[in-house]
Symmetry: C2
């Protein structure tokens, strides 16, 4: 462990960058915009994947795999899609290198592709081109498929996990016989994401719909979950799109209904990415390092021995190993750190930085008294307790930590969601308190754009089940029937 | 289900292609050389991944993720590596498309990369460039990291699973403080692969070393496992490479030893890919379709109702659902197929095609007698047995099937491994019986190449623990101390 972190108050952005490095989560690679996800960061992603994958399968989905490359012409087939994705993408033009005779490796111009290939930024086009071959009749529907994959969207300004050229994600792509069924699927998967965010990531989210301006390129409706970070900026944590018949029309995918009628197929797509790791870090962590919800922590409990002699260490190790075995039986992941090259204080700081939810320490006095020191990472509270009943105590503590950090984040969000009733008030709130601002808007893209240009705040969503309330747009004064949620966002 | 398969005897290659399609495993995509892995095929890969991933973690490895792209210059840093991989690869040259004003999407020449990026064909270079930042002293070693990823090697002639431009794989990349430790790791991971092949895939393999000609580009030693397919051709099912200090030297990765000496780091890499699915198909399946080892089968047991009335179906369904629940409690994956649009005979053929190991059928007479019909896919044996004790019977049957198909494949390999003591005999065996041929070779790359050019047979490996035996090279007559294993191969 090197020195501590820049504090959040001093420089939130710097705090985040240092934390990602010092907690051994990820680093920039030699390839501009691409990150290396280090083992500790990747272990969190694996835990996220396992939980999400089970939720997808429990709702009837299967995984499959589609090509990394998409023929350039596919992008032009859905008009709004090409505008959204063709502009910043990695283009494969050749399929061979050669030695130029002077010892330099160069691109072989004889191996130029007839049609360029795009590294997928998202897979609607290649998947709907494939679905065409899979669908003839209503009997072939629904298709409920998900893909775990890497995607590339060229980015000049990158931040680890939050915005990188290559990132990992899952993308669900479903095909349905009716509009209603597709909308139900879109909403079902939004709820899966909200459930995951709240019950696994301990991250409270607002469920809502995007405005037309903020929709996915090619969608009729984009649903999203929005979370609030500690600096008062919002982060979109997942999206679920109702694509209507746009991609079916673009790729000519029709089916014969039960009634014998030919119609285009209805589509959804939905995705979350390694960006969630960025959200997890920013939502909960403090100036000492990561705070991880126990359900996603790679190490849930760490045991550190404090000893003055080899004899003492042997006795402590015997207790630690027995305890570790008992915890493992309860499916609690535990690490016993008996490295003899590092002081306990150094190890304490390291596990604080890495956000291990529960730390146990066993010293000479504990040996005499049959006790153990137990510290929780979120509140840093320490207690010396009897080893009797310890496993049960830890099980309960892990549940308590999971709930506590959710409640803390929820309180933070509630305290930082404010109503603004004039544009002045809106701007002042943005600059002094940030957070979510609930305000009336006249429903036009023009006003939305004006607000964005003038304040950098965007409409994060129109919350689902929004309460109807007559009011006036904060900018134009035109009538409005509901408030929408604004924020500056990642 | 459409018509049956071309028989293996008639056209083995055609049989394979049809089987991959009819069992719903994979298909060619619109992108030349890239496949779509369909849900049923992908479910097999997920089972393989889960088993392998656990084995990797049990041997101390963690997963991480490195960039998809590799700067062109990295390839030139390890001389033999560039020859092996630079020739057929996907090259990214631009990072933007644009509209040409006439409604066509074209590559934006203003967005040309200064240095081309190669889509990884394998990740030694980008990983060793990263490890340079991770390693200073022996305390940072070993690094035991694995990556699950997609890779691209441009291929003109492709076959689903066996040879495709893009494929999925895992690649382990480890760093060690001594040559001996790296060699031990190389051998350990070869044994993990052999264990997986034999005990999960039911695929007997020969463990061996490649000759210098057949080594991985950049390795000092390549270990491999080789399996025999039903047409008598060999298939390399996994490789584990001892890389010496080649990549550490290419990327200047040094460490300070315990004794304070500066030295280059020792490396290994090892990988298996979706090619294993091709091996699985070709090793066990028959003219009715797939035969899957129960440990990797997505569906282990299917239950099909045979009924003449809704009332009968209700009674059968009650039994089937109870039975399915009991099987699930034993972690047996089970599907109850009560689709009412298809006849039982059609379903039987479909599950035969898909290689479901155990099929249960329940009919009217079974209702009366308290019985059930149980059929095993591998031998097609059918039995009518009492429903009492059925779950235990199925558990035992799944174990028996797993063992039986391994033994069958092992017998096949033993019957098809022959010694040749002259080049004449060698060539005749190749053309009449194929299989593995064990023969003396003088140890020179020239003779190896001559045999390959003249017969298309390659040295698959020098088996580990090979028995020493004085003899004469079948081509040159020069003295030899051991036989090596030849075959034509996939
Ligand atoms: Zn009014
Ligand atoms: Zn001799």
């Amino acid at each position: 462990m090197s020195k501590g972190l820049t504090s959040r108050e001093e420089d939130y952005s710097q705090w985040y960058n240092e934390l990602v490095g010092k907690a051994d989560m990820a680093e920039h690679s030699a390839v501009r915009g691409c990150m290396v996800i280090k083992p500790y960061g990747y272990a969190i992603w694996e835990n996220m994947q396992a939980a999400l994958d089970k939720m997808f399968k429990d709702t009837g989905h299967s995984n499959a795999y589609f090509p990394l490359f998409i023929p350039k012409s596919f992008f032009s087939k859905e008009a709004s899609h090409v505008e959204g994705f063709a502009t910043e993408c990695a283009v494969v033009t050749h399929y061979r290198l050669k030695n130029d005779g002077n010892g330099n490796i160069i691109v072989d111009e004889d191996a130029k592709l007839e049609e360029e290939l795009i590294v997928r930024p998202t897979s609607e086009t290649i998947i709907w081109n494939t679905y065409k071959g899979w669908i003839q009749s209503y009997r072939d529907l629904p298709i409920l498929v998900n893909q775990w994959a890497n995607v590339v969207r060229w980015e000049m300004r990158t931040r680890l996990f939050l915005r990188t050229a290559e990132f990992l994600w899952q993308e669900g792509h479903t095909a349905h016989a009716s509009s209603q069924e597709a909308i139900e699927e879109t909403e079902r998967m939004l709820e899966v994401y909200a459930d995951f965010a709240e019950n696994w990531m301990a991250l409270p989210v607002v469920r809502g719909k995007k405005t037309a301006n903020e929709r996915f390129a090619g969608a009729l409706d984009t649903y999203c979950i929005e979370a609030l970070m500690q600096d008062g900026k919002a982060l979109q944590a997942g999206t679920s799109h109702f694509l209507g018949q746009n991609f079916a029309k673009a790729f000519d995918v029709k089916f014969t209904s039960k009634e014998g009628k030919l119609d285009y197929v209805w589509a959804t797509s939905w995705g979350v990415s390694t960006r969630l790791i960025g959200a997890l870090i920013m939502a909960h962590s403090d100036d000492s390092g990561l705070i991880l919800p126990p359900k996603l922590a790679p190490i849930q409990v760490v045991i550190v021995p404090i000893y003055r002699s080899d004899e003492e260490l042997d006795k402590i190790s015997a207790i630690a190993k027995e305890l570790a075995a008992e915890l493992k039986l309860k499916n609690i992941s535990v690490k016993y750190d008996d490295r003899d090259t590092l002081r306990p204080g150094f190890k304490f700081a390291e596990y604080e930085m890495k956000g291990v939810p529960v730390r146990l320490a066993i010293g000479g006095r504990d040996l005499e008294n049959g006790t153990i020191e137990i510290a929780r990472r979120d509140t840093k509270e320490k207690q010396t307790i009897s080893r009797d009943g310890l496993v049960l105590h830890i099980e309960e503590l892990l549940v308590d930590i999971q709930n506590s950090i959710f409640k803390k984040a929820l309180n933070f969000r509630e305290e930082n969601t404010r109503e603004a009733n004039s544009y002045e008030e809106f701007k002042e709130l943005l600059d002094t308190k940030a957070g979510f601002i609930s305000a009336h808007w006249d429903g036009t893209p023009e006003t939305e754009k004006q607000i964005k240009d003038e304040t950098k705040a965007t409409i994060r969503c129109i919350p689902l089940n929004n309460k109807l309330e007559n009011g006036h747009c904060i900018v134009t004064g035109n009538p409005s029937t509901q408030r929408v949620l604004f924020a500056r966002a990642y």
